[in-house]
Amino acid sequence: MPASDPDTEFGRTAGRGGAAALRVEAWDNPADHAFDGVEPRPGSAKPDPILIADGVERTFGGIRAVSVDHLEVQRGAITALIGPNGAGKTTFFNLLTAFDRPDHGNVVFDGQPASGQPSYALASKGMVRTFQLTKVLAKMSVLDNMMLAAQAQTGESMWRGLLHGWRGQESDVRARALDVLERFNMVHMQAEFAGALSGGQRKLLEMARSMMADPKLIMLDEPMAGVNPALTQSLLGHVKRLRSEGITVMFVEHDMDVVRDISDWVVVMAEGLIIAEGPSDAIGSNQAVVDAYLGSSHSALTEEIILGQVPDPDELADGVRESREGGDG
């Protein structure tokens, strides 16, 4: 493993100077006011939706995994999809990206019907996704991973691949791949097999690779899962940068700090339904959300936890004592 991989590099910086020392730049947020006047309720209309899902349902046997009445995803913004385990977030992602077929329902992407289209066609139209379990192409070099993602390559035709007409385009693709790798601090790893990268580096590579595919909407399935906090900061920076470049981001995430930090809008799923929508600072106080995460009977203390206001340990102990006493009484 190279000594200066971003993983450890960031880890060290974080260790020395805390979050402030990280090289996370501030990117403009073109979606700053995009949600002004949007009603924070499930299925609310957005001013400029890039993705609209209508009546999307999927059952596995007798279990209703996903049943989404209506969802609009605002163009140019970062939308988080959160929900407890088993809420159907990943299944919904699969349905939107055509990796799974809904029993019924309609999806419109960028003004065009997306239902019934194969997943690769949606991807080449700009709906690019990543996976919860990172899918790097292990026995290909990092650079090949990147170059693969470029769209409309003439050399991908079998007959043209035999001839040399694709060489010019190939060097353009390579230059662009190196550019993106540079941005992700991975240029020095270009010749390594992707399978030799660490978990965090794979997440970085997958995100960088999606960038190569000219996405309009990038869909990240738990991009921060299993990534150390320092690298999370760097990934967050990359996601914000995507938004500043006009790319729409939709992502599934469990870490509420991450959600609060970067998302402009939060969609909450539970048991296959969308139970709440709203700006990230308001979603934690939504009663339906709190109920979904904690069950419908809970104390004010647990509400504070979901709100991210980590309580003082003494207070926490008091709270536990109180609830015990309450239970005894």
Binding site: T97, F99, P118, S119, Y120, A121, A123, S124, V128, R129, T130, F131, K135, V136, L137, A138, K139, M140, D144, M147, L148, A149, Q151, Q153, T154, G155, E156, S157, M158, R160, G161, L162, W166, E170, F193, G195, A196, R209, S210, A213
Partner: protein
């Protein structure tokens, strides 16, 4: 022991028509399995399609040889479409099941008595490729080549040499095509499908189309192998196209190193050299009494040499799992997954 005879025979096996046939078949398997991750266990079916496509059109219907060759290629393509259309959207193992069955189905159909007028039944078809030796610029009955160091016999008749030259040219052309393709963006997509087809899909690649192209092209190499087999023997026999042929070709591809352009060619030569070497050693040892008849007689040599090939393959997998040309780092990554 006559060591010079053993060396001669071993060398001749490495540059024989058999080595060429299996090299061509293994090049196709390498494209399927080594580059695309497709499990084709019925390469012999593609060989039979090529051989019978050629044999039936020329012998039964009297087409000229060149037209028969086109028919053999077409038969390989049609078979790939038939096998690929229902299976390539499914998991990899379905293709394996369907191809291994298809290979047997083809063999059983062409040897069926009812089709004797078309396929020659169990006798096969004979004497349809006389044109091949007519195109021979060499004198078929003259001896070419000579003795290496005065001991190693590398003499070939004009007929045999013509066969080897055409075969070597076919192998060289196939290797060149493979080299161009696997280093193109097309080859990059194939490798990505081998690694993870969902990832390829998520990056906008029409996985089904690429798999189908790979199946067709690799099957075409198989059909060429079958046609070369048919033309060099001037006959097709149904029982030459049985299941073990596929596995010998796969053995050759693995020995050479999967996912390497030259792997199948070198692997096939080595496969046949090992067979000839062990066959000669055992036969001489039995003949001269070094191995007593109570252990093995000369009839059993044919089977025992395959056991030895199996043993060598096991040793290869233990000590050099990546094959001769493979990259050890790739195996290390496989182990990590």
């Amino acid at each position: 022991m006559d060591w010079w005879a053993i060396i001669s025979n071993t060398l001749r096996a490495g540059i024989s028509a058999s080595a060429i046939i299996y090299a061509l078949a293994a090049i196709g398997l390498n494209l399927h399995f080594g580059y695309t991750g497709l499990l084709n266990f019925g390469q012999v079916g593609f060989m039979a399609a090529g051989a019978y496509g050629l044999g039936i059109t020329t012998y039964t219907y009297g087409w000229p040889l060149w037209a028969g060759i086109l028919a053999g290629l077409a038969a390989g393509v049609v078979l790939a479409l038939l096998l690929g259309a229902p299976t390539l959207r499914l998991r990899a193992d379905y293709l394996a099941i369907v191809t291994i069955a298809a290979g047997e189905i083809i063999r059983i159909i062409v040897r069926a008595a009812v089709l004797r007028d078309v396929t020659g039944g169990s006798n096969g078809l004979n004497g349809f490729a006389n044109d091949f030796q007519e195109w021979n610029p060499l004198n078929p009955s003259q001896q070419y080549g000579g003795q290496l160091f005065g001991k190693v016999n590398l003499e070939y008749t004009g007929a045999d040499l013509w066969e080897l030259i055409v075969g070597a040219a076919l192998v060289a052309l196939s290797v060149f095509v493979m080299w161009l393709l696997v280093n193109s963006p097309w080859g990059r997509v194939l490798k990505s499908i081998r690694e993870d087809e969902d990832a390829a899909r998520a990056l906008g690649k029409n996985v089904f189309r690429f798999k189908m192209q790979s199946l067709i092209l690799g099957g075409t190499f198989g059909a060429v192998a079958g046609m070369f087999f048919a033309v060099s023997n001037n006959s097709v026999q149904p029982d030459n196209y049985s299941t073990p042929v596929t596995f010998f070709a796969l053995t050759a591809a693995i020995m050479g190193g999967l996912g390497r352009v030259l792997g199948p060619v070198v692997g096939s030569a080595i496969f046949w050299m090992i067979l000839a070497f062990t066959d000669n050693i055992l036969r001489q040892s039995v003949g001269e009494g070094y191995i007593p008849a109570s252990i093995m007689d000369s009839v059993q040599v044919g089977q025992v040499r395959f056991m030895l090939v199996g043993l060598l393959l096991v040793l290869l997998m233990v000590f050099r799992p990546q094959g001769i040309f493979g990259d050890k780092r790739e195996i290390a990554i496989d182990a990590r997954k």
